[in-house]
Symmetry: C2
Subunit: 185 residues, 2 copies
């Protein structure tokens, strides 16, 4: 899904407003496994995935990667706390496939928020959607057994299992690759 359609689906904009807003975004193709943010950096950009797939992940002291989130087509992608609070990122952000991605700087986004009431509305709607999804995941991890968690995953990210390594999914669900492998059987 492209950015323009996405914006239209959530807020009302006339042609001039839309093209003004789009002019602040930068569209670019990234190769597979491109790092967009390193841990410790302050994230200055918000991304929108038009096509492809990304993930955020955390590196534990023992060197193990833990996937925190997957970002598919038609979703905003960010190290949320770092971008919004301008604090050092706890996560890495990377592409998992060759991806078409829009980006916008914090400064420009804030400018759009104050310029257009509808953009502010968009920001609110998108934040709430992310919040709902994170709560949903939290519930899965906190209340449910390993099996149910895998079910949740299939609903939230259909067909993901064919696109990313099993280990990424396992760590996203808070279990080891071996456990997930046994569950699927």
């Amino acid at each position: 899904m492209n950015l323009s359609d996405f914006l239209h689906s959530l807020i009302n904009l006339n042609t001039d407003e839309l093209s003004d807003i789009l002019s602040y975004f930068d569209k670019k193709v990234y190769e597979k496994n491109t790092i967009l943010i390193n841990e410790g950096e302050i994230s200055h950009n918000l991304y929108f995935v038009e096509n492809g797939m990304g993930r955020s992940y955390y590196l534990k002291k023992d060197g193990k990667e833990v996937t925190q989130w997957f970002f598919g087509s038609g979703k905003f992608m960010a190290s949320a706390d770092s971008f919004f609070q301008q604090t050092p990122s706890l996560y890495y952000l990377e592409t998992l496939e060759k991806s078409v991605i829009y980006s916008i700087s914090k400064v420009n986004l804030d400018h759009l928020f104050s310029k257009y009431h509808q953009m502010e509305q968009l920001g609110r709607l998108v934040s709430i959607e992310m919040l709902t999804k994170v709560v949903h995941k939290l519930n899965a991890i906190q209340f449910q057994t390993a099996k149910e968690r895998y079910q949740y995953m299939l609903e939230e990210f259909p067909n993901i299992s064919t696109r990313v390594p099993l280990g990424y999914i396992a760590s996203y669900l808070g279990m080891t690759q071996e456990t997930l492998s046994r569950i699927r059987r």
Copy 2:
């Protein structure tokens, strides 16, 4: 913290705007252990805790309560998905102490969002803050050991351990009361 101060701390409002906004809120005192929303109901109100303490909790099939969130003074309190998406709530919402609480209906809140750009901004800021906090908890539960999780808890909700039963805190952290008791030792 009262609502008026809270609003001022996040957005700019003149006296007229402020009093108009406040007029949509309803201030009330609730006794300890008052249920504000039952599981299965669609939540029509958003709450703001001026004073006191609330929590949301989930009831598992085996009848065990799992605390999902605590809401202290100066925080908005809601069954987020139910209120914002107008879907049946997965949680119960209750007061844990005698509390002074403001409430506003979804209809009135939406009205304020469209009437005032700043209210839309407030909605965005509050949503992002909630998102950040939920992500923080998710990290604690997903990445950290039981001990570290308890540490996170003390940071996020200082002095909570003197105000609510241990079992509530344990389930919030995704562990049993016995485990938490052993950890604290």
